[in-house]
Amino acid sequence: MKFGNRLWFCLTDVFSKPSIAITLAILSTLLSVTTTMVTSFGLAFGIGNVNTHRIESEPLSGCVLVGDGIRTKQRFESADFEHVESFLRQKLPASTGFTGVFGFREVPLTVITSDGSTWTLYGRTASMGTDDRREDPVFAGLRRISTSSATPSADQSALYVSTDFLTQCGLQAQTLPLTIRCKVKELPVELRVTGVVDRLPYRWDFVMAEDIDRWLAQTDDRASIKVDQVTTGTAPTQWWPLLQQVGDGQGEHFDRFVELAGQANRRVNGQRFDLVDHRLSLAMTDAPLQEWSILLRMWIKGFPALDQPDADMLVEQFLNLETGILPEHSLEDDRYDMAGIYTSDLSLMQSIADLASEVHWRQSHSTANDGKMFGRLVERESAEKVARADEQTRTALKIVTGFSFVIALVGSIGLLTILFLKAKSKSSEAGMMRVIGFSNQSITQLRLIEAFVLWIPSILGIPLGIALGKYLSHQQYAGDAMAQQIGYHLTITHALSISLGCLVASVFFMQLSVMICHRSDPILLLER
């Protein structure tokens, strides 16, 4: 039998009335279209959340933090930042969200106490841009938060902590979420630590800034910030007695500490950063000195990048308080501990980080790259948006995958049921064909072609489904190339899976049909 005739035979047989094959073809096409469309649209929906948030609100902003790894020596100058900024502007596209390079100094910010064994504390603020006219986006965020009239509640206070911090507290990520109970101005406060952030060690600075600011705004009682428990940790023994003495709130050391701390606070923060100044002043004047000791200890421990020599140096500086010598780094206005490279486009952060590792950070030593990557800082609001969008994306992906799976499963069961019924009728037909003169071999060949003919609608349905899904998702989330690209690849994967399933079903049908055909004895037809 000629191939053309075979194909004609199969096409006629498959699509003839009242053959159920036509139902089969429609079913498999619908299955393919529906599943791929749902997948395509659903994926775009999930991933598109990122885009939605990006569009709905002001641009997200982030910062790549760079330092020299030695906290107690100010290594960067304004000229360095200008040099780096110029370098980055050359390297980065002009249309990107690159904002500029700003300097950082580190000062103790606040303290959170707990009645359990969990403590967290340290802070960092102070920023001086190379151009004062430019607003520091991070501090813009802080100001916005500080003027918020939102009522604080335990639920709203979500903390992100680092793995290192958890380890210090003897905890593991599996224990999250955990609740830190503490008192602020005699008010019981619960903080829920909800997540662990690796390689974003500075993220919770802003969380704490927000929370504490709210606490402070909530009460007029500034008498004290009560500490429930002090952990000794692994503080260097040589300065612990000193802290104890200061912590007693008496004596020469105490007076000197108060004085120097006030000076440091004013010198570092000036009047430009009211929030920080306000908080530190408050802490200095009202809080028991025991908290200052905690603050200092945790300040040392809190920086993941701070190794032992740095800690020892810091202790030495603290000991110098006795003699009235302020740490050097808090005195010079144009020198900075760290550099923050800001961008309003989070997708740029990796590029900036890569470039930051290439640039010679200090003009005076152009042969050396003293920039040491500390991590990335994401503005709190941006971080929350990203986290929320990520969560929604993951949820959407789960729903879409589950939904696609259910559709494919139900469709496949229906497909196989129909194929099975059809295979049974085909066995009778095979007997008739043998009577006409067809051999088992030629019947098998015809069934093979027929299986592929049945597969064709599924194949055609898949690109149709992809096209529909893409159209819908493009309509909904136009402009988010990343979301659409990821969605496209995942949809293709789903579509190929469905296609493979249809092929398997068709081959299964063919095998079943041939098996029954071979086992069927034509004499059964004769004896009917």
Binding site: M1, K2, G4, N5, W8, F9, T12, D13, S16, K17, P18, S19, E429, M432, M433, R434, V435, I436, G437, F438, S439, N440, Q441, S442, D521, P522, I523, L525, L526, E527, R528
Partner: protein, 296 residues
């Protein structure tokens, strides 16, 4: 006219030479009828006969006597000895002189059937997904002809058949493009017979082709087959399995009467000597009619 002596070469040309053909089906130890000792049942028991070319042969017998089994073996549908418990020999003497040992392999059976045999089943033997015309074309397509040529030849055959039957009702030509489900069982069967004839086979075999037809259609079918054979009477052989004994005997040249797997009389019987009811009654009870005793 005498009965054909299958064991004698002097009897003239032979189309089928059958020797000790036996079909035995194995049974489980717990067989039906409570006979736990039975291990097999004999469907055909050492059948030997020669079938001459150009004859009309009716295979008769009660239900379960082995008629359809014999026809399926003759047609090449059952060829593999081990599968079907077949033993014995079956030779087909091709018109060109070649001899085909039909009981060889499945492949031999397929080739033999497609080259020489036209087969008509009882009702509903057309493929439901194809029009009547396409059903007629299937043997031609299988033989390698194009669809256009096949359709032309099928159309010509139907026209000839309609002409032969005159204006005695609806013609088959009116239903060529209908699906089998849209035509009557009589018309369906006519198409099935035409399909079996379309390749001009040397042997036309039919297994109770009239079982679902009324007497008028029955006679028309017999006439149709007869006329087909009559166009080349020495080349075309018809083998018919039927329950309508009287009609079959009246139509046939020879009769192979099977009773419980045995060939009554041990050979083919002359049909014109079995034309009376009494003779048929005797055949049913396993006896030979008096006028044929001498042949046993």
């Amino acid at each position: 006219m005498s009965a054909v002596d299958s064991t004698s070469d002097a009897a003239g040309p032979v189309l089928f030479r059958i020797r000790d053909l036996m079909v035995e089906h194995s049974l489980d130890s717990h067989s039906e009828a409570g006979n736990d000792n039975a291990t097999s049942v004999v469907v055909l028991n050492r059948i030997s006969m020669d079938i001459p070319p150009g004859c009309r042969l009716a295979i008769l017998g009660r239900s379960g006597s082995g008629k359809s089994t014999l026809l399926s073996i003759l047609s090449g549908l059952r060829t593999e000895r081990s599968c079907f418990g077949i033993s014995g020999e079956l030779e087909f003497h091709c018109p060109g002189g070649r001899i085909v040992n039909v009981l060889g392999s499945e492949r031999v059976g397929d080739t033999y059937r497609s080259d020489w045999i036209g087969f008509v089943l009882s009702a509903s033997s057309l493929l439901s997904g194809f029009s009547c015309l396409d059903n007629l074309c299937l043997p031609l397509l299988r033989a390698g002809l194009s669809r256009q040529t096949s359709r032309q030849r099928a159309g010509q055959l139907v026209d000839r058949f309609d002409e032969m039957n005159g204006a005695t009702g609806s013609t088959l030509g009116e239903h060529l493009h209908k699906l089998p489900s849209e035509v009557s069982s009589g018309q369906l069967q006519r198409f099935a017979i035409l399909r079996a004839m379309i390749n001009n086979p040397a042997v036309l075999m039919a297994d109770e082709p009239f079982s679902n037809l009324d007497p008028l259609n029955h006679r028309a079918m017999l006439k149709m087959i007869g006329e087909w054979r009559q166009s080349k009477p020495t080349e075309r052989t018809v083998i018919l399995v039927s329950h309508h004994w009287q009609d079959a005997i009246a139509w046939a040249d020879y009769v192979a009467f099977l009773h419980k797997g045995n060939l009554v009389g041990g050979r083919l019987l002359l049909a014109n000597e079995l034309g009376n009811y009494e003779a048929i009654e005797k055949l049913v009870t396993g006896q030979l009619p008096d006028n044929l005793e001498h042949l046993a």
